[in-house]
């Protein structure tokens, strides 16, 4: 039955090569902790991806309640945290995931760096990885404002003041992010929401796609 359904779709869309490209690939033995325990260092990249998936899923549930305006943002987070069934778990996972993903990504970066895995022919993948790092920090920075509590507002204030010190483009960059040259308020919150939920995740998915395609093409770097 399943085979027939597969054949039916395959006849029309020729999915066998796609399936072979996505799922059928080999993994070198030296990256498997089941063979050598020290190979756990190769898990950090996969765990980063795992947390990213959890962040996307928990974030989708958070937006079911979250309201990005300065009157209701705090109240909606407060409600989510205290009244909604499992709200405290969903928000907790998103909150802790944000920290864990930075930790895992940092460890992954160090693994690749110290193993010299960025060398020819993997230079481009390293560059994409560093860009992913930047996008992740941006996600952390913009997401921090969204609950609209004291620490959120003042951390953002400081962050934007630092952005302002950049010569030439600083003030324009701040105005673009905050929606105003001086005020950090309603506009800032909606902009950070849009950046956090649409712009940066879009960039992240694109970069991650490129990251994975390159790994698939080149394979994981060999043992030292």
């Amino acid at each position: 039955m399943l085979q027939k359904m597969y054949d039916w779709v395959d006849e029309r869309l020729d999915i066998t090569p796609m399936w072979r490209d996505i799922a059928d690939h080999e993994v070198p033995e030296h990256v498997n902790p089941a063979h050598h325990f020290s190979a756990f260092v190769y898990c950090f990249g996969g765990l980063t991806f795992f947390i990213t998936v959890i962040q996307i899923l928990s974030g989708m549930f958070l937006t079911m309640y979250y309201v990005p305006d300065i009157i209701n943002a705090y109240e909606s987070v407060h409600y989510l945290q205290n009244e909604v069934a499992f709200g405290v778990i969903v928000r907790g996972m998103h909150h802790w995931g944000a920290s864990l993903v930075i930790v895992m990504m940092f460890l992954h970066t160090l693994r690749v760096f110290f193993q010299g895995a960025y060398k020819k022919p993997r230079e481009l993948n390293w560059v994409v990885g560093v860009l992913i790092f930047g996008v992740m920090l941006g996600l952390g920075f913009t997401g921090y404002l969204l609950p609209w509590d004291m620490k959120a507002l003042f951390a953002t204030k400081v962050g934007l003041e630092i952005a302002q010190t950049v010569p030439v483009i600083g003030p324009a960059m701040k105005a673009l992010l905050a929606g105003d040259a001086h005020i950090i308020g309603a506009q800032t919150l909606t902009r950070f929401f849009a950046i956090h939920v649409f712009f940066l995740p879009g960039a992240l998915l694109g970069l991650m796609g490129a990251h994975f395609i390159m790994i698939r093409k080149q394979g994981i770097s060999g043992p030292l």
Partner: protein, 253 residues
């Protein structure tokens, strides 16, 4: 692959009519020992994910994610602090040669150089050697950066007044005086059923900080509003006055 004349397609589509057999690729000539991702590798790797997920969930359950009081832009006494992974950058700005007149060094030059060097690492460290010991410059620079990040984060953490920080962010709880005459009326007139024993709301909205005048509240109690039906209040005018003033005086914060 078949090319040129004689190719057959499914209907008028571009899908080749000839089915390719679904057989695994041949990895036997790849460098090093390998195994198939599906299912051999995945069956072992999911265990790492599970262990990690359990730790992650324990962390989530044990430490509730923090929420301070609602943002108040007028509070100038609040000491700001970024999230922990930005602390090292924040701390950097507290040193003499990265602050004040030299602030650009702390905000642009040093982070820019570090990020730029990281981005261009493959072109800065071009030798074919991969072992950390055989490329001392790259390794020692990264170790230096690592130690600096840890040191700056550490300095930032020990110099921050965490008790004061916790105090300044605490949400202000509304104290409900349950001995007040108004609260007794609130209880007797069954308002409590929908608006909760702390006036926090239930099937009706919260009555804390409504911003309404006592007269408006009295009117709502009598005539209802929205989904609240009229004639909920059945007490005396004296009680109505006590109730409406009690609710009107419940300030948020």
């Amino acid at each position: 692959m078949h090319r040129g004349k004689g190719m057959k397609f499914v209907g008028d589509s571009r899908i080749p009519a000839e089915r390719k057999p679904n057989i695994p690729k041949d990895y036997s000539e790849y460098p090093g020992k390998t195994e198939a991702f599906w299912p051999n590798f995945l069956l072992k790797e999911w265990m790492v994910g599970s262990v990690f997920l359990i730790g992650y969930l324990i962390l989530t359950v044990v430490h509730e994610s923090p929420l301070e009081r609602k943002a108040d832009p007028t509070d100038a006494s609040y000491i700001p602090l970024p999230d922990w992974y930005f602390l090292f950058l924040y701390q950097l700005l507290k040193y003499k040669y990265a602050a004040g007149d030299y602030t650009l060094i702390g905000t642009v030059v040093m982070p820019g150089l570090a990020f730029g060097a990281l981005l261009l690492a493959p072109w800065l460290d071009r030798g074919p050697e991969r072992r950390p010991k055989k490329r001392p410059v790259a390794t020692s620079l990264m170790l230096l950066a690592l130690i600096s990040i840890i040191f700056l984060t550490w300095e930032s953490v020990v110099n921050h007044d965490w008790e004061k920080a916790e105090e300044q962010g605490k949400p202000v709880e509304v104290e409900i005086d349950k001995q007040a005459e108004g609260y007794k009326v609130y209880q007797e007139q069954t308002c409590i059923g929908c608006h909760g024993n702390n006036l926090q709301g239930g099937s009706g909205p919260s009555l804390i900080g409504t911003g309404l005048a006592p007269e408006e509240i009295a009117k709502i109690a009598k005539e209802g509003v929205g989904s609240m039906p009229a004639d909920q209040f059945k007490g005396s005018d004296e009680q109505l006055k006590q109730l409406s003033e009690f609710i009107a005086n419940l300030e948020k914060k």
